[in-house]
């Protein structure tokens, strides 16, 4: 049985090309994913992300629970701050990557990927029970989630929802708060400014329609993927999964070892140091880099984990696991359909806030 979001009929009304995404019927694009991509870099676009799942963790032990569950440390989070983290298994593999929002007073909201949501909830509940911790874990997969992203995103959201303007004008990036019916987070997956809004499904169609009338461009999963790749952001299931250490997926910066905090996967990570570097590639000529293509460097082989055509750079770009001694600027070869093509190594992100950085 295919799952649908509260925006499903809005997508059909716009003749979106709908696809199955891990059991959810989601829009791939509404005509041109490249035009949607440009709208987000230059103006404002919106994405239905209701397939992702919010899980509220509330209780006396919520903080120690989060500190043991996640590879990043919620220790210093003030109320209203967001934290990106991996959730690891005992072997140090990535069960999921997520954003945890600290709401104050022993309350956290965790937003996880659609494909892994059920597995994540089971894992979290088993952990809480096993650790005998006092907290309630409440999945809120019933909520609508809409990401509005781009240089004009915040201003447009304030026009659509004037009541949230005052409370969120001074809210810094990577912060969030509940304002009336809307949980407003200044986060995203595009490398642009904007909000991710979480709210009751009954408001979904009204808000969508209001944003459409304000000129916000609806964007599908296609543009979401090219935007996040340009922004150098990992995609779960592609750039890392249960068999990959966060240290080999460029996520070492999200793992906090510097206190004695015992988090799941810690000892496994300590006993298996980083085996590869996670860097960007830019293809020098024509063609398109794709996941699973082999990379040949002077000192060994690497593998592309995400690759696409960058609409902003008008070149093909990729994220790849490369030998440890690979260096920025090095020329490498990528095998595309049996032929080797030259590419060079760069440090992601490729694009942020509308500007090309590599």
């Amino acid at each position: 049985m295919t799952k649908t979001t509260p925006f499903n009929s809005a997508h059909h009304l716009l003749n979106a090309r709908m696809v199955d995404f891990h059991g959810w019927e989601m829009p791939l694009h509404y005509g041109s994913q490249i035009e949607e991509h440009h709208a987000v870099r230059r103006d404002c676009g919106m994405f239905d992300i209701s397939h992702m799942c919010a899980i509220d963790a509330i209780g006396l032990d919520a903080k120690p629970f989060m500190q043991r569950l996640l590879a990043n440390d919620v220790e210093k989070l003030r109320a209203g701050k967001a934290l990106y983290s991996c959730m690891l298994n005992e072997a140090g593999g990535v069960l999921d990557d997520l954003i945890a929002y600290y709401l104050g007073g022993g309350r956290y909201r965790i937003v996880v990927n659609a494909a892994t949501a059920e597995k994540d909830i089971d894992w979290m509940k088993a952990c809480a029970a096993g650790w005998k911790m006092q907290l309630a874990l409440t999945p809120r997969c019933d909520l609508a989630m809409l990401a509005v992203q781009g240089p004009n995103a915040r201003e447009t959201v304030w026009q659509a929802l004037p009541d949230i303007r005052d409370a969120t004008t001074a809210m810094a990036p990577f912060h969030a708060q509940q304002v009336g019916d809307y949980f407003v987070a200044r986060t995203g997956y595009t490398g642009e400014d904007g909000f991710e809004l979480t709210f009751s499904a009954q408001h979904a169609e009204t808000l969508w329609q209001r944003l459409l009338e304000l000129g916000v461009r609806p964007c599908g999963l296609g543009a979401r993927d090219t935007l996040r790749l340009e922004a150098g952001m990992n995609l779960y299931g592609q750039d890392m999964d249960e068999s990959v250490s966060p240290l080999d997926a460029g996520l070492g910066w999200t793992v906090v070892f510097d206190t004695a905090r015992e988090f799941v996967g810690r000892s496994a990570l300590l006993s298996r140091p980083r085996q590869s570097q996670f860097l960007g590639l830019v293809l020098d000529g024509g063609g398109v880099l794709r996941p699973q293509q082999k990379v040949f460097t002077a000192t060994g082989e690497g593998l592309i984990t995400s690759g696409t055509f960058s609409p902003t750079m008008e070149k093909s770009i990729a994220l790849a696991r490369l030998p440890l001694d690979s260096t920025m600027g090095d020329t490498v070869e990528v095998e595309i359909r049996g032929k080797r093509h030259s590419a060079h190594i760069v440090k992601p992100p490729f694009v942020r806030n509308g500007r090309i950085l590599v």
């Binding site: 791939l28 694009h29 994913q33 490249i34 296609g222 055509f309 609409p311």
Partner: protein, 127 residues
């Protein structure tokens, strides 16, 4: 509903073919194919002069999403390629029938009869 002009011939692999007055056959991909692929970003065309056999892959079109082989609809020699299409692949999305990819000098023009007509292609793609 895809645009399927009645005056063209079609392969099951989504290439259209048109016999020209000079005896060459112009080849492109169908509107249905460009719709399935989404925004095209790269096209690799065959070398002019290359001998091609019916049903063999001779070109590649890549969209943001995926790469797709293009097959020779009939045997012959590549007599021309459309560099404009390679330079601006989005033209294929805008008009798949105006933006041809290559021309073949067929070994036997009667091979065209082996291809589908518009009604046959429409049935093939289930529309």
């Amino acid at each position: 509903m895809s645009n399927i002009p009645a005056d063209l011939k079609y392969a099951k692999t989504h290439e259209w073919s048109r016999l020209e007055a000079d005896g060459t056959v112009t080849v492109g991909i169908t509107d249905h194919a460009q719709y399935l692929l989404g925004d095209l970003v790269f096209i690799e065309l065959p070398e002019p002069g290359k001998q091609v056999s019916a049903g063999k892959e001779i070109a590649v079109v890549e969209s943001v999403k995926a790469a797709s082989d293009i097959y020779a609809p009939l045997s012959g020699t590549i007599s021309a390629v459309n560099q404009d299409a390679a330079d601006m692949p989005e033209r294929v999305n805008n008009d798949a029938y105006a933006t041809w990819l290559f021309k073949i000098q067929p070994d036997n023009a009667a091979d065209l009869d082996q291809l589908l007509d518009a009604a046959g292609y429409q049935q093939e793609i289930g529309e």
